[in-house]
Amino acid sequence: MSTGEAHKPPPYMLVWFGLFALTIVEVYYATVTSIPKIWLAIGLMAMAFYKAYLVAVYYMHLKWEPKRLWLLVASPIPLIMILIFVVLNEIFVP
C-alpha cells in the first residue's frame, strides 16, 4: 500500500463487523451484567483497546507500514503510561 508493495486486499468489512459486534458486547456487558466495578472496567477497556487496535492496524494501514513508523506511533505510549501512573499516584498515595 503506502510502501508500494502488493498485498491481499485488507478485510475491511470483516473488521467493520468485528467493531460492530464488540460495541454490542460492550453495551451489554456494561448495562446488563452485574459484575464488580473493577472487572467491568478492565473488561471494557480491554475491548475498547482491541477495537482501537483494529482501526489502527487495518483502517489506518499500520499493518503494511514500515517498522520505523510503528516505532514512531508507539512513542507516546511511555509518555501516556507515565501520565497515568503519576495521576494514579496522586489519587491513591496519601
Binding site: V15, A48, L79
Partner: protein, 217 residues
C-alpha cells in the same frame, strides 16, 4: 512505487520510508493522542478523587443513543476506507460515492451529538450545574440530586473537543470531495485521500475510547 507516484509527491523519503505528507499527519496525530490523553487523564483523576460528583452509567447519559452514534462513526470509517480502496483501483466514481457517504454519516454523528446535548441540557445537565434534580432516565424527577460541577464540565469538555474534531473532519471531507469531483485524485496520486482517511480513522479511534470511559464505566 511508480514514476507517476514519485512525481505526485508520494515518493518514500529516506529515514521513515513514508512520504512527507503522511509522516506529517502521523506526527500531528501523535500530538492529538497526547492532547486527548491529557483530557482523559484529568477525567480519571477527578472521578477517582471525587466519586460523589459523578453519576453511574445510564443515570444521566443515554447509552443507547450514544451506542447508535458509535455505530455511525464505525460505519463512516468503513466508507472512508472504501473510498481509499476505490481510488487505489482508479475508480473515480466509487471514490466520490464513498466520500459522500462518509460526509453524510459524519454529519449525522454531529447531528446526534447536538441532539444529545440539547436533550441533556433540557434535563438540567449543563456544564456548571451543581446537581441534577431533573435527570429522569432511571431516576424520578423529584429524586435525589446526582453529580456535581465536575461531571458536567469533564463530560462536555471531552465530548465537545471530540465533536469539534469530527466537525472539522466533515469540513475537510467536503473539501476532499470537491477535489475528487474535479478529478484531482488518481490511482497514482491519492495522498490527499489517504491523509484524510488517517485523520478520520483517528477520530473514530478516539471515540471508541471515549465512549467506553465516559458512557460505560
Amino acid at each position: 512505487m511508480t514514476t507517476q507516484a514519485m512525481t505526485a509527491g508520494r515518493a518514500p523519503m529516506p529515514g521513515m520510508k513514508v512520504y512527507n505528507l503522511k509522516l506529517g499527519m502521523w506526527i500531528f496525530l501523535l500530538s492529538e493522542v497526547m492532547f486527548f490523553t491529557g483530557l482523559i487523564g484529568s477525567y480519571v483523576i477527578l472521578r477517582f478523587a471525587h466519586p460523589e460528583q459523578f453519576a453511574e452509567p445510564g443515570q444521566v447519559l443515554n447509552i443507547n443513543l450514544t451506542a447508535f452514534n458509535t455505530f455511525l462513526l464505525i460505519c463512516s470509517s468503513v466508507t472512508m476506507v472504501k473510498a481509499y480502496a476505490a481510488i487505489q483501483q482508479g475508480d473515480q466514481q466509487g471514490l466520490k460515492n464513498w466520500l459522500l457517504a462518509t460526509i453524510v454519516i459524519g454529519a449525522s454523528f454531529v447531528g446526534v451529538q447536538v441532539y444529545e446535548y440539547i436533550a441533556l441540557a433540557g434535563e438540567g445537565f449543563v456544564p456548571m450545574a451543581d446537581a441534577y434534580h431533573a435527570v429522569g432516565r432511571h431516576m424520578p424527577h423529584d429524586g435525589p440530586a446526582i453529580g456535581g460541577q465536575l461531571y458536567g464540565s469533564t463530560f462536555y469538555t471531552m465530548t465537545g473537543f471530540h465533536g469539534t474534531h469530527v466537525s472539522i473532519g466533515v469540513l475537510c471531507l467536503c473539501f476532499t470531495y470537491w477535489r475528487a469531483a474535479k478529478g484531482a485524485y488518481t490511482a497514482d496520486s491519492l495522498g490527499g485521500v489517504e491523509i484524510m482517511g488517517l485523520y478520520w480513522h483517528f477520530v473514530d479511534l478516539v471515540w471508541i475510547i471515549l465512549f467506553t470511559i465516559v458512557y460505560l464505566i
